[in-house]
Symmetry: C2
Subunit: 386 residues, 2 copies
Amino acid sequence: MINVSIVGAGQTKFGRHDNYDLRELFVMAAHEAIEEAGITPKDVEAAFIGNLSADQFNRQTHIAPLMADFAGMKGIPATKCEAACASSATALRAAILAIESGQHDVVMAAGVEKMTDLTTPGVIETLAMAADQIFEAQPGITFPGIFAILAVAHMAKYGTTKEQLAAVAVKNHANGVHNPLAQYQMEITLEKALSSRMVAWPLGLFDCSPITDGAAAVVLTKNKKARKFTDAPVKILASEQANDTMNLCDRTDLTSLYAARTAAYRAYKQARINPDYVDVAEVHDCFTIAEIIATEDLGFFKPGKGGAAVEEGVTQIDGEVAINTSGGLKAKGHPVGATGVAQIVELYHQLRNEAGKRQVKSPNVGLAHNVGGTGATCVIHICERW
Amino acid sequence: MINVSIVGAGQTKFGRHDNYDLRELFVMAAHEAIEEAGITPKDVEAAFIGNLSADQFNRQTHIAPLMADFAGMKGIPATKCEAACASSATALRAAILAIESGQHDVVMAAGVEKMTDLTTPGVIETLAMAADQIFEAQPGITFPGIFAILAVAHMAKYGTTKEQLAAVAVKNHANGVHNPLAQYQMEITLEKALSSRMVAWPLGLFDCSPITDGAAAVVLTKNKKARKFTDAPVKILASEQANDTMNLCDRTDLTSLYAARTAAYRAYKQARINPDYVDVAEVHDCFTIAEIIATEDLGFFKPGKGGAAVEEGVTQIDGEVAINTSGGLKAKGHPVGATGVAQIVELYHQLRNEAGKRQVKSPNVGLAHNVGGTGATCVIHICERW
């Protein structure tokens, strides 16, 4: 049982931000969340901030007090949490536990990443540090290659096609058109996706999420106090996290993520629901194959059926379960340390019926699935309108 | 009120480890803590791991699941916490909150850093990223220079002398002689300290803590369950953290750390004690001046009196309040991300009367003071024998 609600949410535009640095991006998202909650920065009692590697991207460590100070939250405990691309979901979980502990009543969970200060090869090299340096990164593989291995395994075992992978990109780009904060607000055709430049077979350019700057933040409080902040809080039903071996060589199955299945099992149990209850989900589509695997790991579809489901439109906004209404990492963008909380920001707006042209019809339950690396970390949150 | 106890503790030898990498150092400390608690890795339900920048030091991010997996703790939630040199104290606080939340019963807090993979200039450059990159690091100042500014301010305001700074180093080296895990187990004379090579006036080589590899870990559980694990658990009375502006230019006082005073005030209040109750304290002596300021910020001595106190022997093992019995960061060593939990490991042994030749006579209350950067973060834990 979790007794925590979201009472404010903020997110910057995702994309390339040449005119704002790390702290400015954070402040924009944090202040929007704080204003949404009807409070001031002084009311925030603690902050947990997700960030993968400002060390490499911006030559800045120790970012949590820096961000908190610039946002007007001097004095509070502020801690950075890192778990690769799942960093801010782990920050959210730490924030939830802090409220559940009784030590804090109003806590911010946030995420921020400014990736474009490095060149593209520099970004790729930095991201590869989230794989096992000794057994994966040093030998020379980078993430497109690692996820290509999963894609090949999925194709070999289940007959998943390149067209099904492309269908993920087409759907998420179609959703992104209606998200004013998305990095790419443009539709793409199946033909365009299929004919894009090859990155690591079978993954072409449109199978890959982009390099992105951005920040996202939410304000959390106890359920008991939530209605003092907003008329429409969003209740957190479950917050679960699992890890796995990092190195793919140590895994027995490359068509599914153990950490995702484990965290999902725990989360459904904690929320006392099953996958059928979920109306809208933000899943970690860092590559198109990752979304297909996610929808299977989460129990929306049987193993091997995720590809067909997206091709048949089951995961569109008006489908059985709307997946990545925000545009997902693919079209909304993927500022790695901010992605986990940005998923929650989308669910917050969906569950409050504030998502405009990408609004799912009266959703009750939303799920966020945030993956670190190739699934050495997976964090799952389940939220409910209230 | 905190209802959490430490039931196991482990630490590697601190120093230069050419034959062990990051994960091996972690496993050694984690397994010692696990064995001390009389459990197996499978019994640990969650882990929070402090680390400053394996990104820069070891080209490895996403270390928490990697460390957990290699220690036999696959599947559990494992999150890295970072707050510069206070990283593992923030991990400890997150672990305590996780137990207090009721979501986990047995949690590991740990820290690990392997700094010697980089050259000394590389280490200094990496550490400088924990200062404000824009306003401090880019203009060219590094930490010895920053702490030299504090020392000069303290000398100007209170008449603190270079001899008093050196007395900190002499005491901590004397203590380190009796700590088999310390990096330096050698006494130094006041003359040697005073005549050491100048680093940043007034700080000479013996005013600076060294570059260190090492890991430390503790196993925590609810007070209620603690005696199932050990006959002599150590109870945590307080866990508080505060932040401050990072950039020194924004501060009104350079002779004291606002974050330390704030966290200390909160911690004494939470523990329902005052500074007089503290028998043994591990404080963050990254530079000798930092220990003098710490003993004042913690209320052991009035502002400006910390220098005289160390010179008079008040902070020796047999003094009124024993400071840095482990040898402190100065002699024990300072593997930055491991330091916070290593302080707790020392208190654990002191409060259980297991500290051998450096044992304080029957201490009841211990305090750990862990600082990030120049005090943009301070975390304070207070522990009690039980």
